[in-house]
């Protein structure tokens, strides 16, 4: 089966305290040099059938209406091998 | 590698079996062979090894726990005693209340969030399995030193897990405690309690009777959670199409459990269930063997029917899986369709996996091949009983002789003031609201009292205002000094707290947290504590309805303080009459009930000011506790007192500060005749409470105390905006509030 990945991130202008909490913790744990961290979601979809244009369009719609809340989130659809 | 069937086992008696890796002793393995008349199959070996483990069989503690059954006081309110999932007491008006406390200590050290979350999930299912709607949770927690880095790892995770799971279930968190002590550094104690309510006729028991009745497994899918050591059996069938790791940590899904609760309650309402058990430790193997052994003895299960999350699980793994949010019901054939329909309504997976049979064997099949054929009682109830050696430790005398009364005391008002501030701002005595504000205390709309009140209280009938209350208490420091007395002090404190809220104590559940049973000193502590608790319950008339034992809480040679935690359940006729701790009305008179002596062994003062643990804990007088309880309840019911707060760690000053801050009013105190200021403020003598009495009620109240023989000393009045101890010092409420409330957020936020 083919896998399609949808990455969902908060829009850049939205405050992300979870990402900030991670960023604050890194130096304490000994990791320097990270200017910013933003946290998102990754959806791995196992698709039945071919991943053609029609399938991708459907997945795009799925992402826009359900997987992401486009008021506050952006998404990217990627096909994996 | 072929399936290890019963047939195969009887044909290959000399096969090597990993009984040692699974935690069994040689004589236990021999006994299994004797019971079965052959070597056990892999699945049977797994079942016995887990069911006969300390955690499931209580093999080290049984001989001592027997006392709870032997010394049970007469109590008309007891409907279900020790032995079932949880105890049940009658609270009047046809209602029965079930409650229990349990521990989930070791998992919470490994994965704090999930360890605590699944602990809540487990205790809630126990209550549900009794036939009740869960209505409240409580959580007594113990962590290492408050400023230790690892405490900062464990505590926030545990609190988030309890909140994350409990809040999502819709259960108000109405009480508990948070205690810091370095002895718990590597062994945090996460005890979780739950209260459930039902009508008498709804009580369900965990037994499978009636040949032909179906066995239905419902709830979450079964995965590889918690299999742990059992996977050594699977290693023989290892191939690379399987996941390489079996999760050591169980992950809870509170949404799934919420559906399970609603689904189960609807099923109960339609009376579709003959017996029910929740799946906890040892999963399906435990549920089936317990149901079968409590019932008419026989059961047949077809394991391939179980809905799996992971199709690569071997039958042994399915049997031992500890996947959460699952229950097992015994259902008469004519009710099965309706049962499955209700599950479908709630989107809960349900499947018939077997049936109750004639005869007395538990038989489990995998695609038609038999892999288990055992007498269920031998698995569930006839595990080994150890008589572990116990001996009073050599250091006990020296510890008790190290009298805290000899420690340097504050010499004047200024020193007293300074020490009071240190006390109320120390992590153990400071406000825990940073923690308790992470729990929903409002959901279900019946919470009458919650933290930081003396007891949690919920209304259980909206028409009559009948309510129940619960308090949980424990003091490892006292118990270390003297386990017998320490256990009784924990019981007395919880009893006193319930009475202080205006409710009548009925029964208890206990969570016994101790070190390694292989250490005779620890075993002595355990023996003494259980003896103290059993004796105490008998004297107070509050039977032990059930509970939990957690052993092996130690890191290397160092055990935790012996920490018996007691949960007392009480009933109140009218929740409107409950007594809060807040000094809310200026002008009310403050009375100290009970006798104050110089008792500082194990006290908060000795810990905070001198980092000292030594001497004898306060003396216990259970007759006095009973009398005090009666006075507090009468005083509450008849409107003679408007506030009551029990005295425990931190003594009188801690109680007064808490009540003043809660009510937003100060107090002017006068040190009574015959006492010095230091003892008055910091002693931890038991059997005491402070109450606020409206002036109009003073005579009635003091007459009642006098007539009943309870010392009642007027110590001051609710007034002003400071805690003012005449001739000694005054501390403004502002200063006290800041000191009391800044500590925990300062350490953990």
């Amino acid at each position: 089966m083919a896998r399609v990945v949808v990455d969902v991130m908060l829009k850049p202008e939205i405050l992300d305290p979870q990402g900030q909490a991670v960023q604050r913790a890194l130096p304490r744990l000994g990791f320097a040099g990270i200017a910013d961290v933003r946290q998102g979601k990754r959806f791995e979809l196992e698709v039945e059938g071919p991943v053609d244009d029609a399938a991708l369009a459907r997945i795009h719609e799925m992402a826009e209406t359900f997987l992401a809340n486009t008021v506050i989130e952006d998404f990217v659809v990627k096909v994996e091998s | 590698m072929s399936l290890d069937t019963v047939k195969h086992a009887s044909e290959t008696p000399d096969s090597e079996q990993p009984w040692k890796e699974l935690g069994l002793k040689e004589d236990e393995y021999a006994r299994i062979r004797e019971i079965l008349g052959r070597r056990p199959t892999g699945a049977e070996l797994a079942m016995y090894s887990v069911m006969w483990s300390e955690h499931c069989s209580y093999k080290s503690s049984k001989v001592h726990l027997k006392q709870f059954g032997e010394k049970t006081p007469e109590n008309d309110a007891m409907l279900v005693g020790i032995g079932e999932n949880a105890g049940v007491v009658d609270v009047g008006q046809g209602y029965a209340v079930t409650f229990k406390v349990e521990s989930h200590n070791h998992p919470s050290y490994i994965e704090p969030y999930q360890g605590a979350a699944t602990g809540v999930g487990g205790i809630v299912r126990d209550i549900l399995a009794m036939g009740a709607r869960p209505v409240a949770v409580v959580d007594p927690l113990r962590f290492g030193a408050a400023d230790h880095p690892d405490t900062k790892r464990v505590l926030p995770g545990v609190v988030a897990g309890i909140g994350g799971y409990g809040n999502c279930l819709g259960l108000p968190n109405i009480g508990g405690e948070v205690v810091f002590d370095s002895c718990y550094q590597g062994n945090p104690l996460v005890n979780a309690g739950c209260i459930g309510v039902m009508k008498h006729e709804d009580i369900h028991l965990a037994k499978a009777s009636g040949p032909g009745n179906k066995v239905i497994l419902y709830g979450a899918r079964t995965g590889g959670d918690g299999i742990g050591g059992v996977s050594v059996l699977a290693s023989e069938t290892f191939d690379d199409t399987k996941p390489t790791k079996r999760p050591a940590v169980q992950v809870g899904d509170p949404f799934q459990e919420k559906l399970l609760i609603e689904c189960t309650l609807e099923i109960f309402q339609e009376k579709l269930v003959a017996g029910i058990q929740d799946l906890g430790g040892a999963g399906l193997s435990c549920a089936t063997s317990e149901l079968a052994s409590a019932g008419s003895g026989g059961m047949r299960v077809d394991l391939e029917k179980v809905h799996l999350r992971d199709a690569t699980l071997s039958p042994e793994e399915i049997l031992m899986s500890e996947s959460q949010e699952r229950m097992c019901a015994i259902v008469e054939p004519q009710h099965v369709d309706r049962f499955l329909e209700i599950c479908e309504k709630w989107d809960v997976i349900a499947v018939v996996i077997g049936e109750v049979t004639e005869g007395e064997r538990l038989e489990i099949f995998w695609h038609g091949e038999q892999i288990v054929d055992v007498p269920p009682r031998s698995v569930a109830h006839e595990g080994p009983t150890y008589h572990r050696p116990f001996a009073r430790p050599e250091w006990q005398d020296a510890l008790q002789a190290d009298d805290a009364g000899k420690l340097p005391r504050p010499q004047d008002g200024a020193e007293l003031k300074d020490q009071v501030l240190k006390l109320v701002s120390s992590p153990n005595q400071a406000s825990k609201s940073w923690i308790t504000d992470q729990y929903d205390r409002f959901v279900q709309g019946n919470t009458v009292l919650a933290q930081p009140e003396d007891a949690g209280m919920v209304r259980i009938d909206e028409e009559t205002n009948l309510g129940v209350a619960m308090a949980t208490d424990g003091n490892g420091r006292y118990a270390k000094l003297d386990p017998y007395t320490g256990a009784q002090l924990a019981l007395a404190e919880a009893y006193r707290n319930v009475a202080a809220s205006g409710a009548k104590p009925l029964a208890i559940s206990d969570c016994l947290n101790f070190g390694s049973p292989e250490d005779p000193a620890v075993m002595w502590q355990f023996a003494e504590a259980t003896r103290g608790l059993a004796d105490g319950c008998f004297q107070l008339g509050t039977p032990v309805t059930g509970g939990n034992v957690s052993l092996y809480n130690q890191t290397g040679e160092v055990a935790i303080h012996p920490t018996p935690v007691v949960a007392v359940l009480g009933v109140i006729d009218d929740v409107n009459r409950r007594t809060p701790i807040a000094f809310a009305e200026e002008g009310q008179l403050l009375y100290l009930l009970g006798d104050t002596k110089e008792e500082f062994g194990g006290s908060a003062w000795s810990e905070v000011i001198h980092q000292h643990l030594g001497g004898m804990p306060p003396a216990v007088d259970l007759d006095r506790e009973k009398l005090l309880g009666e006075i507090l309840i009468s005083g509450s019911r008849d409107g003679m007192i408007d506030a009551a707060h029990d005295l425990s760690d931190g003594g009188l000053v801690q109680a007064v500060v808490e009540s003043c801050l809660r009510g937003g009013n100060g107090a002017r105190l006068v040190v009574p005749e015959g006492l010095d200021a230091f003892t008055f403020l910091f002693s931890e003598s038991a059997g005491r409470a402070v109450v606020a009495v409206p002036r109009s009620e003073e005579l009635r109240f003091t007459d009642m105390c006098g007539a009943r023989g309870l010392p009642a000393t007027r110590i001051g009045v609710v007034d002003g905006d400071a805690v003012d101890v005449q001739g000694e010092f005054a501390l403004s409420l502002t200063e006290l509030r800041e000191a009391h409330e800044a500590t925990i957020p300062g350490l953990l936020a």
Binding site: P17, L67, N69 | -
Partner: protein
């Protein structure tokens, strides 16, 4: 003569019983609605109650918003039926685009349960007419994902049109922009707020005040006098 107030139960809804009780105490007839039914049983108004519907999985309210019952509710709300969304209900209303904006994790990343002071900003809506503009009330608040956000244009619009219904006072418990605790749609029939008025309807329980009862008496008056 009274009005029927429907309260929806989704899988994972927790405060439906409290909302039903509040409706009853106000004198209305409480009606339970199941998420799978499109039929609203002739109720005159709907309350989307608090809780963790679908465990808050994906996003709070994201899955509930597609339930059969929501299809009818969205339709009827657009036609003027009063709808009150409390906490998770508010989240469902924003996911359903009946109200603008969205709810995110509390800025301090903890669940918070506290007695919360609010100022009533808009006392003209179907659910707030029994209050007066500027009135201070105290109502329990309890949530993990209560931070209200919207873009600047939307926020300015809400302010300009007087559609901020409630604002947090003293303490902003979750980082909501402009201290917004609740909002209304332009027509004033759809109101959403994070705090829980249904937990403040009895003197014995919750905050010890009955400041939340006004929501339920307001709607009753509106419906009965309609």
């Amino acid at each position: 003569m009274t009005a029927r107030i429907g309260v929806v139960t989704f899988p994972g809804t927790l405060d439906d019983q409290d909302a039903l009780r509040a409706a009853r105490l106000a004198g209305a007839e409480p009606v339970s609605l199941w998420h799978r039914d499109k039929d609203l049983k002739q109720v005159d108004a709907v309350v989307l109650a608090g809780g963790f519907s679908y465990g808050d999985y994906l996003r709070a309210g994201a899955i509930s918003r597609f339930s059969p019952v929501m299809e009818t509710i969205i339709e009827q709300a657009k036609a003027g039926m009063p709808v009150l969304g409390i906490c998770n209900g508010f989240q469902i209303l924003t996911e359903a685009h009946l109200l603008p904006g969205a709810m995110l994790r509390n800025n301090h990343l903890h669940f918070i349960c506290r007695d919360q002071k609010l100022r009533v900003e808009n006392a003209e809506t179907a659910w707030t007419s029994d209050y007066s503009a500027g009135q201070e009330i105290e109502v329990p608040l309890k949530n993990m994902d209560g931070r209200y956000v919207a873009d600047e244009r939307t926020l300015d619009e809400l302010e300009a049109e007087g559609r901020v219904a409630f604002r947090y006072l003293d303490v902003n418990p979750n980082g909501s922009l402009r201290d917004i605790a609740g909002i209304t749609n332009a027509a004033g029939n759809v109101v959403g707020l994070m705090p829980h008025p249904e937990h403040a309807v009895e003197p014995l329980i919750g905050t010890g005040k009955t400041d939340g009862l006004g929501f339920f008496t307001s709607i009753l008056k509106k419906l009965v006098n309609a």
